[in-house]
Symmetry: C2
Subunit: 542 residues, 2 copies
């Protein structure tokens, strides 16, 4: 193919997703990441219809400078019976200063008659008038033919007339939309082929995932001659989401040999996808193709031993091609081979240590039955492994007891409504420390550091950067337990690690994860145990 | 097609998913749900290799009685160089008493040589010997040809010889596995077509979703003549998961006219998928095709007004066909039309009340900016709506203050380590109540009920049944807030409702959601405000 358009609509159609709520600032942070990925077009929103989108285009014109992408404004054809240049919504598209305007138009005769409530001819006139007006104002125009596939299957002739009208009026691309998302690949391929035979111009594909085939539908359209694909990072979008743009472009580049992203951006796909999910605050889907945390994670003991021999025989593509990485999972099913590989990943050579591997495997299985998970919490796994290696768990201090107190009077907000007191043995001394915090975990974290810092001032470099909570029912009929994952950063080393705690409630689970995070951080930084007496014994935990 | 096999491998291949850890009891609960869905085969695990799978088959033979499905045991062909009837792993398959045995075998010559480390001929002999031995013992045999597609693309002749060997030895089905999950639909269709031309017997498809095409790959195989599909409920499985069995069968039945599930089970797909995710304790994916919470949820104001006219024009299929339901979402993007529709869903006729709709829309947008979400929390939305309708928020009591205390001494476990005290005004009296609990939220919930129950004994019917926590960064650079969703059940009415609370920490957020859950429950039960004086005023909140 000559040229190929990768058109991202994360900021417009993706933002329709349940639970998604993007601020102008969020959009200003996401757009440069999309540009870095190397997409050709970034659809920023619907200026004029959504006030924060109007604001986004205003600020984007001043603040953003893309290397690869063109900014596109989404809008609608003129109103039925109106004059184009007097239509406020069309004026707002011009006012956005976006070089590319993407117009949504009806191509399903039933939607023209029952939703738009106008005549077939007037709808075609709305397409022609709006496209040619915007072309006359110097803008490039893409037409999104809404409900195209359903419309084509009901009345192919009318759907085609809408496409031809757009091309004749000067649209450079007509993107065929599976708006309700119910198409299957064979249907898409056949219909795109028929449109290509009857209309002259660039054809695009806009897929939704309602039948679970959005990626395959996009590929089927390309195979049938489409040279423009629309989609959203992480497959965001209304209902089941839009086509996952990352999976579509990875398949096109890695499997079908089409070089569609500018500047080698595919190698940054994982990082960019995750960065965007940080901004959208939608938890990433671990099973997401190519970029998911689990996408190249191997669990089965059966495979683990074979993967040691030949990793390429167990992966559909090189994870580095999309910036992801192979991982071995430590879990219930882990055979000793997985534990050995995981150990190697963490820098421990466990080859040939059969008894140790069996003990660690058993400990992991027991802990997972209680609600622990080591899939993510590498630091907690390493503490467990060191305990089995050395016969004793690494400790730098000992906890006697802790308590935490929260008090609230509605209407009287307070910065620090929680207070924690810890009693600990550190460096041979009994430490009693009290700290306030914004909530009980925050107060406990502060009190713990206060007790430990006089002996281990290194803890001041550690910063709690993420905190996740999950309520688990470990077994039917027993009480729920709470699992907490804490991510900590050593600000000097710029390294992060994750620990896990499990308990009957969030506070006990948090305490365990917080203690482990400090112990691991001190170990990692190579800090010696300063509680030891000159003859090498510590009495902290007696 | 004559007959069609729907083969579920949730309990075996699905269980390889990261974070999944199924107990024997879990499997005994899931299997009857799969049978109810109407699948033809339930693969229960690998007896002999995984101890809890051995146990599962033992108990399944005694405790389970399927209406539709056959139980299948998964295992491997005999070891290289061994005698089949002496192979312990093969014996364990017989001992499982499963009527169907699914044997995994190598069909990629590279895996034969590099992973299995045997000769091409010995691998074929292993297939022939094991299949014919099990057939001789009266079992039905399915052969899973591992890495088939990669193998076929590398050495088609050898891959085909493995298929033919299995059929000749008596396998009733050979299932072609895309073990690494990297296939695309066109490749699958072509290869399945070639196998059909060269081998005589039932061909199956086992897809993984690494290229995001597992559903489409399964359909492509069926179009090319496969009459057996394997997959997992909710698309569970290693890495990116197996083919989502629900989406595959829904597409086959609703879009391609193949009636593949027994007993009309498709109408229970959503309920069964969700029930299974309760047992696996893997949070359901809202965007999952057909069964996801968002799969038929509409958000955009643009569509909301049109959906009122003609719902079928905006859905790819009738949600009731898979037991799901259309939902209108109350969110930032909600125009007044969505709020009006949501009101109607809750029993309020808001048509024509423009000012009210505007006020509610603004309140919802403001609250969502602070971290609230009403997508799920219908009860909290209704309280907000009633507040705007009546000019005053429904109240039954007033909170003066509350405090909660948690204390722990490691090594001294205690049933009730938390204690809460609330000070409230209820029924014209000041109530001071203290309660213990397993954790702070539990203690607060108990103290709240204790203070309210003397005036409103109805609260004893209310039971907290689910509790979800999420840490949110509402805006860049500001502190995180905690959002809590509480689900409560009225055990007499068997109705449940969900409320939301947001606060700087889990305890404050929980308090808000707990109070709303009690207020909504009392409202719902038609309980009058018993704090009112005879002249209709309440002084509780003065």
């Amino acid at each position: 193919m000559d040229t190929f358009d990768v058109y991202d609509t994360t900021l417009r159609d993706g933002a329709q997703q349940e639970g998604m709520n993007l601020s102008v600032q969020d959009k200003l942070l996401i757009a440069p990441l999309l540009d870095e990925l190397g997409v050709g077009y970034i659809e920023g929103g619907w200026p004029g219809a959504i006030p924060k989108d109007t604001e986004f285009f205003k600020r984007a014109a001043k603040e953003l400078d893309f290397r690869n992408a063109e900014l596109a404004a989404f809008g609608s054809t003129r109103k039925a019976g109106a004059r184009t240049h007097e239509d406020a919504q069309v004026r707002a598209l011009l006012d956005s200063e976006a070089p590319v305007i993407t117009l949504v138009a009806k191509s399903d005769i039933r939607h023209v008659e029952r939703a738009l409530k106008t005549t077939p001819e007037e709808n075609l006139a709305m397409i022609r008038d709006t496209v040619s007006y915007l072309r006359g104002e110097g803008r490039r125009v893409i037409l999104d033919a809404e409900h195209f596939f359903d419309g084509f299957r009901y009345d192919a002739d009318y759907a085609l007339r809408a496409v031809v009208a757009a091309f004749e009026a000067g649209a450079e691309t007509v993107c065929l939309c599976d708006t309700n998302g119910g198409m299957l690949p064979d249907w898409v391929g056949e219909i795109v082929g028929r449109v290509r035979a009857e209309a002259d111009g660039r054809i695009g594909m806009h897929a939704h995932n309602d039948s679970g085939c959005a990626v395959a539908n996009s590929l089927a359209a390309v195979a049938a001659g489409a040279t423009h694909v629309q989609g959203c990072v992480n497959g965001y979008g209304e209902r089941t989401g839009n086509a996952d743009l990352g999976a579509v472009v990875a398949n096109l580049q890695l499997k079908l040999g089409h070089d569609v992203l500018a500047g080698g951006g595919l190698r940054d796909l994982t990082r960019i996808s995750h960065a965007i999910s940080e901004i959208t605050n939608i938890a990433p889907f671990a099973r997401q193709p190519y970029v998911g945390a689990s996408a190249f994670a191997h669990k089965a003991g059966l495979h683990a031993s074979a993967i040691k021999v030949d990793p390429d025989m167990y992966q559909h593509t090189d994870p580095l091609a999309v910036g992801n990485d192979m991982r071995m999972l430590i879990s219930d099913m882990a055979g000793r081979a997985s534990i050995e590989l995981k150990g190697r990943e963490l820098g421990f050579d466990l080859a040939g240590q059969g008894d140790l591997l069996t003990r660690v495997t058993t400990r992991v299985k027991d802990a997972e039955a209680q609600g622990y998970t080591y899939d993510a919490a590498d630091a907690s796994f390493e503490l467990l492994l060191r305990e089995e290696l050395d016969g004793v768990r690494p400790t730098f201090f000992c906890t006697e007891s802790w308590r935490v107190f929260v008090e609230t009077t509605p209407g009287k907000p307070s910065e620090a409504n929680a207070e924690a007191t810890v009693k600990m043995h550190v460096g041979g001394a009994r430490m009693l420390a009290t700290a306030e915090g914004n909530g009980p975990v925050n107060a406990l974290d502060a009190a713990l550091r206060k007790a430990v810092a006089p002996t281990y001032p290194e803890v001041d470099r550690f910063e709690l950067i993420d905190f996740k909570v999950r309520i688990l029912d470990t077994e039917q009929g027993t009480d729920a337990v709470t699992r907490v994952l804490v991510e900590t950063m050593d600000t000097r080393a710029e390294a992060t690690w994750m620990t896990v705690g499990v308990g009957p409630n969030i506070i006990e689970a948090s305490w365990e994860a917080l203690v482990d995070s400090i112990v691991y951080g001190l170990l990692r930084a190579g800090v010696p145990n300063r509680s030891e007496t000159p003859d090498g014994v510590t009495t902290d935990c007696d």
